[in-house]
Amino acid sequence: MTGRPSTLRLLWVQTVYQSKLFWRNPVSAFFTLAFPVMIFVVFSLVFGNEKIPYLEITVAQYYAPSLAVFAAVSATYTNLAITTSYQRDLGILKRIRGTPLPAWVYMGGKIISATYIAFIGIVIMIGVGVAFYGLNVYGRTMPAAILTFLVGSFAFSALGLFISAVAPSGQAATAVANATLLPLAFFSGIFIIPAEDSPTWLRLVGDFFPLKHFNDAFFAAFDPQRTDAAFEGGHLAYMVLWGVIAAALAIRWFTWEPTVGGSTTRRRRAARVPT
């Protein structure tokens, strides 16, 4: 058949479409992009912008990159988990499945769009830090920061899609995504700077999950004590491992159709069918 749209064009259309949907949901746009900035501003008000005693850096120098990571993870992990699950509940995924669009292009569009929004989130956070809080940005470490951002966005996109594959409904996915991200953000040094003498179990939990690795690798690029390019190979490899496993399980368990009895939407629809 002639005239089949090129894969690149399909990917572009899907990316634009998913991004458009993001901006049309003001609540999620607010929580993804504005919320981390608010936390940052609040932290700066509460803690001032003094040097953190044992880290020898300012509060902004630590929290701007940390909350930038938080924004990126909200844009990828939380958003993909929730929107994909709701799209399934509504029968949107089922419709997509009935079209000739290859599944990977649909998912690819979602991931690229989420990564693009994550990038905006990071730029806003770093921008606010530089403009108002004296955040130092180093050209020498920017390649490492960008690579870390891309690897982290891939891993957390895959994890978001994994959550949507196992959650029976949009409501469940919302609960799971928030109930995992927020506690982990505390364990991973995003909301709280880990004390030197923090308990071992807490450190082990943080080390196990990928969020701390994203945070550590990204912060490295903003660490004033570093003099090298700040590539954190170990952290990156660990995130890739999580991403690959999450992607494989998501592909294996993903369903395109609403779960029977799994959501109120579906039950309401079923009740409406005339007999």
């Binding site: 089949r4 419709r95 629809r269």
Partner: protein, 299 residues
């Protein structure tokens, strides 16, 4: 040429046999209606043909492809309008058609589709602001956005008001005029009667009757029913023998309605009797359907 060819189709869910051996042929350019009560296996059958569900056994060919393992061409050539799908509520009508249209090699222009389903005024409105009937019409437009050769319509007009239904029928008739093959499921017998070339009735996972809307279930051979009400007349003075008397109503079965009506009306005029509420009727498709599915349920 057959657009859809099904032989011995079976689908089991555990112990439940949702589809229990269906044979079905839908010719190219034909509008074929599947009728049947809920849970009869209608949707399961259609979803197997669309490639949504795997079959347990049987031979299925749709446009020459096996929908159990279809290439991309298969989905490029079919259009699906399901009840359980929906469109992103935050997109506008035109955006939805643009985005879905971009997936297909042959696409129908957005403006043309919007006009075809009568949503011109709603072109730039968000999907979430549309009424149920308008959404359904958008779904219909999305089902044909890729200019498909074969269109599946699962209860396309459920929830429509009468004028919206007429509009949808016109759209479907236009599609048929373009040589498209259409497989339709519906609860509305007038819809099946109006639109389809052939119908099949499914109950308990089997096809229990198939034919044209005019002949299915022995409808062509069924007798005409003459029904009226008379007051103050001795029934044995009627020129014809009634089959049923019910609350003043008289029902006469006729295999020669022209002659019998003449006999009846001549008798009435001669005796100055008024035949109140006179109706001459043949069993409707709905009567036949109810009779067929009722037999099946009570069998």
């Amino acid at each position: 040429m057959a657009a859809i060819e099904v032989r011995g189709l079976v689908k089991r869910y555990g112990d439940l046999e949702a589809v229990a051996g269906i044979d079905l042929t839908v010719l190219e350019g034909e509008v074929f209606a599947l009728l049947g009560p809920n849970g009869a296996g209608k949707t399961t059958t259609v979803e197997i043909l669309e490639g949504y569900r795997e079959r347990t056994s049987g031979d299925v060919s749709v446009l020459g492809y096996d929908p159990g393992d279809p290439p991309r061409e298969f989905r490029e050539r079919i259009g699906i309008v399901l009840q359980e799908t929906s469109v992103e509520p935050e997109l506008t009508v035109a955006e939805a058609l643009d985005i879905y249209g971009a997936i297909y090699p042959r696409r129908r222009p957005t403006g043309e589709l919007i006009e075809l389903v009568g949503l011109t005024d709603k072109r730039d409105d968000r999907v979430k602001t549309l009424s149920g009937g308008q959404r359904r019409r958008l779904e219909l437009a999305l089902g044909i956005v890729g200019d498909p050769d074969l269109i599946f319509l699962d209860e396309p007009t459920t929830g429509f008001d009468p004028s919206a239904r007429r509009q949808a029928w016109t759209v479907i008739e236009n599609l048929r005029g373009l040589g498209k093959t259409i497989l339709l499921t519906t609860h509305y017998m007038d819809e099946a009667q109006h639109l389809s070339d052939r119908v099949a009735v499914i109950a308990r996972g089997r096809i229990i009757a198939a034919g044209t809307p005019e002949t299915i279930g022995g409808r062509a051979d069924a007798k005409t029913m003459i029904r009226f009400r008379v007051a103050g007349v001795a029934l044995d003075s009627l020129p014809l023998v009634p089959v049923r008397l019910d609350g003043g109503f008289v029902e006469i079965e006729s295999s020669d309605p022209t002659r019998d009506l003449y006999t009846l009306t001549r008798w009435a005029l001669d005796n100055e009797i008024e035949l109140e509420d006179l109706v001459v009727d043949r069993p409707s498709l709905e009567d036949i359907y109810l009779q067929l599915t009722d037999d099946e349920v009570t069998a």
